[in-house]
Amino acid sequence: MINPNSPSTANSPSTASTAKKICSSATYGSSKMPLYNYILIALVLVMSVLPQFMDAYWVAVFVSVGLGTLLSLSLNIILGQAGIFSMGHAAFYAVGAYVTAILNTRYGIPILYLLPISGFASAFFAMIVARPIIHLRGDYLLMVTIGIVEIVRIALVNDIGGLTGGANGLFGISRPEIFDIKIKKGEQFYYMIWSFVGVTVILFHWLNCSRFGRALSCIKEDDVAAEGCGINVTRYKLLAFMIGAFWAGMAGTLFAAKMTIISPGSFTFWDSVLLFAAVILGGGSQAGVILGAFLVFGLPEIFRSFAGARMLVFGLALMVMMIIRPQGIIPPRPRHYKLSKASQNKVDYALSQIQDSKDAQPTCSVHGKGEENL
């Protein structure tokens, strides 16, 4: 390979100093990785013993925070990673919950089978509704997604096709069974939902570190440039919607199984808004979004002592937090790439050349052909 950027011209002391900076930041980054992992392990341990120290009320709170986390993580693919302003996530949640409720109460299909089925139904729904609107920008898309979530809610209230049970909703949804163990206690739901969250975090992390995740980042940064790089922007935006909807649909199944009764009131515009707030508050990284979900779905419980004023305080807290930290609590960290030996050598070589040229105080001699003028 030819390197036209000969060391004598890729010079200037400033490049050399930035080069030094990368070196130091690289070592800093690698020493930080284990710490991050330790925190993760500690968190998993704490979460796994937590129910032993909580009463039924707090276990229930954690179960609903878990569902909120699942939903926020799925919205994060759309909103946080692809940068698509979607405020209609509750619609996908609703589709999952209702598909579960209908198939379970009418045909007795077990909940666990319904998990993927609801996911696919929700993803399919997302594909249908998102296709015509996917090219819309920013706030327009925001408003349309709000419209969709309201239309879905009104459709459910109007008992479409006699299937959704109108404003009262559907009841008598059965509990999930795993290996003949019927999940019905709060604690069991706690473990089921939070393990689901765990698996989701891992899968989404891998997805984020693939060409898929990169494509979404590119679309978020600049969709025209992304298309110009050969990324099928429409397709990837749709896929982001569908994956988000798939997971929201599965969360809907878990919700239906936990409540055994569902009604349109659980899938309103405000539920979408809270999910939106959780993602933006969190900052778009998975860790941030989980924290955001805790704040949005857990904080009002902690404020319970404020009684009537708790939502007031919550609204105020949202404002204050955005003002203090507009980029969110934990913005995404750059993806980590490990260079092969050969590539690392290239970097080292380039750095050494720069160092040499700096020592030699270059005179900007130009290589190549003569300088014949025009």
């Binding site: 950027n5 693939s210 590119c218 940064e221 110009g228 050969g230 260079l339 050969a342 290239k346 380039a350």
Partner: protein, 261 residues
């Protein structure tokens, strides 16, 4: 016109391509051919429609009339990402990197369309996907080395100097394994030493067997590297030929310097 036209092996050809915006004819019955593995320049006064021609080739705009053929296939109706897949990569006049991503990720974005791992393979991190990632990373580093930015691989793209950002955009374009690279004012915001590096780089791209098309205001650069030049004014081609022919063409001189009365 040059005698090459008859025997040339065209990689890209525009045939009477017209683009209108409202009532404005931005590009008017534009026809030219680009020879395989050549370096061609498009010049013309500001607002002549040069970038519009590029945007028509890359699919950002669709022509109202006329057709564009690349390697014998019509690409007139294709969308930008499909055109990249066909083998045409571009850079933008106003640098359009992904500013918050790292340098290497910008190049990897260019490789996107040459990768095959699907959603499932990515989500479950299958061995095939990991292998492909590693290979692509290697390839991306080669491109970075090619443009001379290997040592900055982990920097944030927005932290680079403008000159280096232009080089990075070229690396990103090259990472998509193109047959034809379209450079929109590559020397814009570059200082003189950087421009000299750029000239060498453009020639090196040609040596890799890739055809280069460029828009440039730096006449020194254009005259030095281009084998053929197309001059446009008000969306219409007014001259076409070798640098020597263009330099002495009275219509071109008139377009640039105004008519002497």
């Amino acid at each position: 016109m040059s005698t090459q036209d008859i025997s040339m092996n065209a990689i890209l050809s525009l045939d009477k391509v017209t683009k209108t915006f409202g009532g404005l004819r931005a590009v008017n019955e534009m026809s030219f051919k680009v020879e395989d593995n050549s370096i061609m320049g498009i010049i013309g006064p500001n607002g002549a429609g040069k970038t519009t021609v590029f945007n028509l080739i890359t699919g950002n705009y669709t022509p109202n009339e006329g057709s564009i053929e690349f390697q014998g296939k019509s690409i007139t109706k294709l969308r930008p990402h499909q055109i990249v897949e066909q083998g045409i990569a571009r850079t933008f006049q106003s640098i359009r990197l992904f500013p918050n991503l790292s340098v290497i990720e910008n190049v990897l974005a260019g490789s996107h369309c040459r990768m095959k791992s699907g959603l499932f393979a990515s989500m479950f991190r299958l061995p095939s996907q990991r292998k492909e990632e590693a290979q692509t990373l290697e390839r991306a580093m080669e491109e970075l080395e090619f443009v001379g930015l290997a040592h900055m691989w982990n920097e944030k793209a927005s932290s680079l100097s403008y000159g280096n950002q232009r080089l990075l955009e070229m690396a990103r374009a090259l990472a998509s394994d193109p047959k034809l690279v379209i450079l929109d004012e590559p020397a814009g915001s570059m200082n003189q030493p950087e421009t000299k590096v750029l000239i060498r780089l453009i020639q090196a791209i040609q040596e890799r067997g890739i055809t280069v098309m460029l828009i440039e205001h730096d006449m020194g650069l254009v005259m030095k590297v281009c084998e053929k030049i197309v001059v446009i004014e008000y969306g219409t081609k007014i001259a076409e030929g070798k640098p020597v022919e263009i330099r002495n063409n009275p219509r071109v001189i008139e377009a640039y310097l105004g008519k002497e009365d």
